[in-house]
Symmetry: C2
Subunit: 210 residues, 2 copies
Amino acid sequence: MDDAKRASLMDAAMEEFAERGIESASYNKIIERSGLSKGTVYYYFENKDSLLLTVFNEICERFHSAIGDLELPDTKENYWSISQEYHSRAIRFFFENPLVWRVLFWISKDAPYMCGQLEPFRGKVMRFMDGLILRGREIGAVRRDIPPDTIQRLMYALGKVMTASIMEECEAERCKSRQRREEEQVKIEKFISTMHDLSKRILTPEGDLE
Amino acid sequence: MDDAKRASLMDAAMEEFAERGIESASYNKIIERSGLSKGTVYYYFENKDSLLLTVFNEICERFHSAIGDLELPDTKENYWSISQEYHSRAIRFFFENPLVWRVLFWISKDAPYMCGQLEPFRGKVMRFMDGLILRGREIGAVRRDIPPDTIQRLMYALGKVMTASIMEECEAERCKSRQRREEEQVKIEKFISTMHDLSKRILTPEGDLE
DNA sequence: GAAAGGTTAGACCACGTGGTCGAACTTTAT
DNA sequence: ATAAAGTTCGACCACGTGGTCTAACCTTTC
């Protein structure tokens, strides 16, 4: 498929998905937005799901390359600095790609709808985080009295709520008082440390609480 | 409207909402499920939204009367016992009304769709929790470095993830090994204390961490 | 008993949806 | 130059949706 066409289709899909969510997004509307014809789009993507798969894959790759390589920690002390670095990179990426953030936000909501088809791609985005938590358990940085998958969900929920809060706040500020970029950076800085504090509090095993 | 008819409509609506979520629920399907005719239902509820409003109101009342009256705490020590009592009652209620849990789950997802029309009713369910957090701030039981509404969202997310986890777990156990009710109670007991521990960790102000 | 008002039933409508299809156009291979 | 393959187009279809409307049916009132 022609690069320009592909790009305009991806953009249209991202916008539609971001605005209306995965389930509510209309394939017809996406096609309309892209400026391509129905025949063309259907020629390459038999339905909305297969298009979503491609969009999601692209998102995952962008995210993955934005995070770069981070090694799993091998000591407790190591754990927290790596965890913080990860949070830091992730939040910065989302700040620079708000559309991606919204699409992921919706995907995490509508997840059951795709019935696990997205799992392999989700893996790319989440593998590190999942692995981090498991490793944390092994080296004693993460509590063991809560099942790993519950911990994972907790951390995703934490990330989601906190990121949504800070993004909304900055969005609002930008609208009304067009705050300077540096101020925003300070806020993000503080946000990251709050995130870090929270995840540390939640994860630390009983005995290690100071 | 006839009581029996009203009840069958409410049941149908609850089921449909619980299964498919608020947005995806089909008013047509609800009507069909209820066994009533289109004319009848439209005679009382002009659209899906107004039906949802009624359903939600009923849920709120049930929840509210299940929780009963709890006073807001006036000391730090008081705070945690009341908070735990609230969690305990809420989780027990949801365990006894899984359908209600699912509907609320969806509503919290699809909330923006109703554009705040549900707010006054939500108030009934959440007022105590919201008030508790604010009071906690005042009496120094809850940290002040995170805005109250972010804290609230955090606590809802925490409750949602944790409740979902425990309910899924019990559901699964029930299916495969038909575990005894007492075992389940023990699990719930443990779950409540974990919830309590988590919320305490998250909320406690910096200086007060032991 | 008849008129009036409240209630019920379901045929009907317009619309947006996902999806198909054949004809036309473009590119490539022979 | 011609045939074949690849691509594009948009009219078209069946379906489920929210919602309307009239004719009939009760129930109450006079």
